[in-house]
Amino acid sequence: MVENVRDLLKAHEGIKREVYLDNENSTMVPQEVVDTMLPYYNQQAYGNPTLTHKPGWEAFETIMESAQKISKFMGAKILEEITFTPGATEANNLALMGAAFANKHKGKKIVISEIEPINVLHVTELLQKFGFTTTKIPVDNEGFLDLEKLKKAVDKETALASIATINNEIGTIQPVKEAVEIVKGKNPDALFHTDASDAYGRILFNVQDLKVDLATVSSYKILGPRGIGALYVKEGVNVDKILEGQIGTQKLWPGVENTPLIVGLTKASELAFEDFEANIGHMRMLRDKLVDGIFAKLTDVKLNGAKGDKRAPDNANISFLRCEGEALTIELSLTGVYLSSGSACSRRLLQPSHVLVAIGRRFSEAHGSILMKTTRYHTEEDITRVLEVLPIAVNRIRGIVGSTGVD
């Protein structure tokens, strides 16, 4: 199997210009971030932050300073509200399971949207085994939550609601503040979690302003290292830990704190938030150039998700009719343009993206979808390059499709 992959890699030899747009699924880590992390592996603060020696105290100081910075960036009140986890998946698991278990005496109903990420969706399925039930609130064809249905779904038994601030696939910015007001208005005891993985560093986001109880942040989505994330838990909110082990400086996540990764997340946050307006302006400008260019060069194209300023500045999700997405990702890879697809084939699941299905896209439209995210490091030349090769690739795949696959 690895031999085949080596052959596939060989087929890419000679590519002169590469453009990586698959920032939904993983990201490159800027050298600045890596350089900041490196000393923490073997020069300083490599001790266990709970122990009584210099490297331990250094680690403790570093982690507390990081938590302080992250809490500021999220709009939290105190640094103790931040728990570092090995990623957004773990943070979402901790938020949902931990809050559900700690508050089960108040009720066993959970409310989410139909387009929550898999690491929320699947956790609620797991919670069914423990007697919790989940109501999924539908969204409209731009992906906006149906607030009326949310209002109807929340009652005295509702323990928890979880609505992502920005949908990771289609970039729709949810009216989280209104949703919190609705949930708390009907049940002041109900907790509200938001997965802010796609919002942190991309839009103005403040946990106190939104009045959420729990919020998830992902490191790699702001070009930090993989393997680290954070969960905000508002002071006074009860959450059970979900893993057992040696407790360190954090009461909600056992094990030895990963200081270099925490430093990486913090540095990536600093880079995202200094010149924040310029950063997101750059992402938006390139994203618009990309989307406008695709619409100008190709017919039978649809934008998936919200339009205008209710869309994340980095997100471009486009369906090409009569074009299968996995084939397109391979075709483009061979030209040095890397992106992902919501096609069933590409996801290697039987069904295409549940998000695209929820916003009313036909299966064939979902199979022909691609997802691209711009970053502050992309250049206009990158986008020009994508606009050169993408229409050629789409047209070649459409040529293979012919009149087959039109529904």
């Binding site: 052959d7 299968e324 391979i330 069933a344 590409s346 293979i400 696959g405």
Partner: protein, 167 residues
Amino acid sequence: MSRVPLPYTQKVLDLFRNPKNLGKLEDANVISVAGNPACGDMITFYIKINDRAVIEKISFESYGCAANIATASIVTEMIKGLSLESAWKDVSWKKVTEEVGGLPSVKFHCGILAVGAVKRAIRKYYEQKGSAPSWIPKELTFEEKQALEEEELAEKLSKRLKATEEK
């Protein structure tokens, strides 16, 4: 279920990049389709069968992933020039998979779909003629059944989707 990178073989990649016998065939006397766009997996074969029941020309169109395109293309190469009887008996999905140097297991269904479409075409040809030779069993073969199952699944999914929309 784990998700591994799809380790397509060189042969699959070559056929994906340069598919053989692609497009419509003007003088086809049998056209057969298998799969459904809802599954993101669909193949059409255009076949010209001559009076001696030999596949004289064949071409394909494919809506699907790289494996779908590659298996459809290799099938056209494998059965061109064969008698219908030989195409029926000698071309199985396993052979097709071997011919492309192997497929990841999640992509076996692509080869199955391609062979299902061929068997459908042969059945259709004899249906058009009004009589079928004895080597065609009344019961559907494995590949034809699998193609049908995939189409039924697509139908079910589409229905469920419509039902949700109406709610």
